[in-house]
Symmetry: C2
Subunit: 198 residues, 2 copies
C-alpha cells in the first residue's frame, strides 16, 4: 500500500513517505532508535536557540511505563495507540524559567517534533501525533510544571496491516490522503493571491 | 566548514546538516525549488488535518516583491537577510474560518515549516527562520486577516563565506553550535527524571 504524498514536483523521499498510521504491530521501539529521534529533535532550530521543548518518553520494552503513558491519551486514541512500540509526550514552556513570555515555543516544538518524526521514518518507524490527550491526567501523573503546556502525544512503532484495525479505523487508514491545493496556502504580493511558480 | 550537529548516535544527514546561516550569496531561489519546499510543507501532519498554515512567498527573481518582503523584517535581520534568494512569511490561524479556537495551529505550523526547511536543505539551499519581524507592518502590507498570527519569516538561499558578514555576525556564524544535553530535555517516569536509553 503506497501512501506517498501526491506532489506537483518530486520531494525528498522521507518527507513524501511520512504519514500517520493507526495500525501498529506492537513491536517495541529500541532505545537506539529513540536516541536518534530525540537527537534529531534536540538539534532543531528555535527562536534565540531557547529550546523550549521537553519530552516524556517510554518504550514498550518498559511495559508498565508504556501502559501508564497510554493511559494519558484520550479513549479513542488508547484503542489503537496501545499497539505502538513507544510513546512520547511533547511539552513546551509558555513562560521561561526566568519568567519571560515565550510566544514562539509551540511553533518551535513543532519544528523539533517534525525532525523527530522524520528521523523515525528514516529508520523504518512510523509516528502518529495526537492532540486528543488528557492534559490534566498527564500533568498530574508526570508532575509537569504549570509553565509547560502539554502539546501532543506521539505514538511510534512498526506498521501493521490495516485490517488489524476495526472496520471504522481501517476505512480511515486506507482512505486517500488529501491536502488543500498549494494555491490555497501559498500567496504572493497579497493575501489570497495565489503564488504562481510555473 | 562543517556545521554538522554533534549527536550521540548518527542521524539522518539532512537533519544533521541543517543549520541557520546568515551569510547568503544573493543568488535567487528558483521557482522549481520553491514549489518543492511548499509541497513539503503542504504534506505535513496537522491536528484533524486542518492545515492551519498559510505562506506568503517571494523569490529574489521578483526583486521588487522580494525587497517588500525584506522590509517587513526587523532592522537587525534586514542587514543580512537581503542577501537571501527568497523570503517566506509563515502564518497560521488562531481561530478557524468557522470560528473555532485552534490551540494546535502554531505547533502544526512548526511541523510544516520544518519539512519546508529540510526540503530546501536537501536541494542545496539553507534557511534561517526569524521571529524578529514587524508583524504590524507585514499585516498591513499583505492584508493578513486578524484571525491569522504572523509567526515567523524564513530567509532561503545559497551559502556565502562567513567573512562576507560583519565582524560581529561572522563571529556568530562560526561559533560552535550548541544544544542542551538530552538529559535536560527528555524524561522518563517523572518530570526531570532523565531518560536512560543506553
Amino acid at each position: 500500500m503506497s501512501r506517498q504524498a501526491e506532489t506537483s514536483a518530486p520531494i525528498t523521499d522521507v518527507i513524501a513517505n511520512r504519514w500517520s498510521p493507526r495500525a501498529f504491530n506492537g513491536e517495541p521501539v529500541s532505545n537506539a532508535d529513540l536516541v536518534k529521534m530525540l537527537e534529531a529533535a534536540r538539534w532543531a532550530a528555535s527562536a534565540f536557540n531557547a529550546q523550549p521543548w521537553r519530552f516524556i518518553v517510554a518504550s514498550k520494552n518498559d511495559a508498565a511505563e508504556f501502559d501508564r503513558m497510554v493511559a494519558g491519551l484520550g479513549e479513542f486514541n488508547q484503542v489503537w495507540a496501545k499497539n505502538a512500540g513507544a510513546m512520547i509526550y511533547v511539552t513546551a514552556w509558555n513562560v521561561t524559567s526566568e519568567g519571560r513570555s515565550a510566544p514562539t515555543a509551540k511553533y518551535d516544538a513543532g519544528l523539533a517534533v517534525s525532525q523527530l518524526v522524520l528521523e523515525a521514518q528514516n529508520n523504518g518507524l512510523y509516528c502518529h501525533q495526537m492532540a486528543g490527550i488528557n492534559r490534566d491526567v498527564i500533568r498530574e501523573m508526570y508532575n509537569v510544571p504549570e509553565n509547560f503546556d502539554i502539546l501532543a502525544a506521539v505514538a511510534v512503532g512498526y506498521l501493521a496491516p490495516a485490517d488489524t484495525l476495526s472496520e471504522k479505523l481501517m476505512a480511515r487508514e486506507t482512505a486517500p490522503r488529501a491536502r488543500k491545493p498549494l494555491s490555497e496556502i501559498a500567496f504572493s504580493g497579497d493575501w489570497g493571491s495565489s503564488v504562481t511558480l510555473d
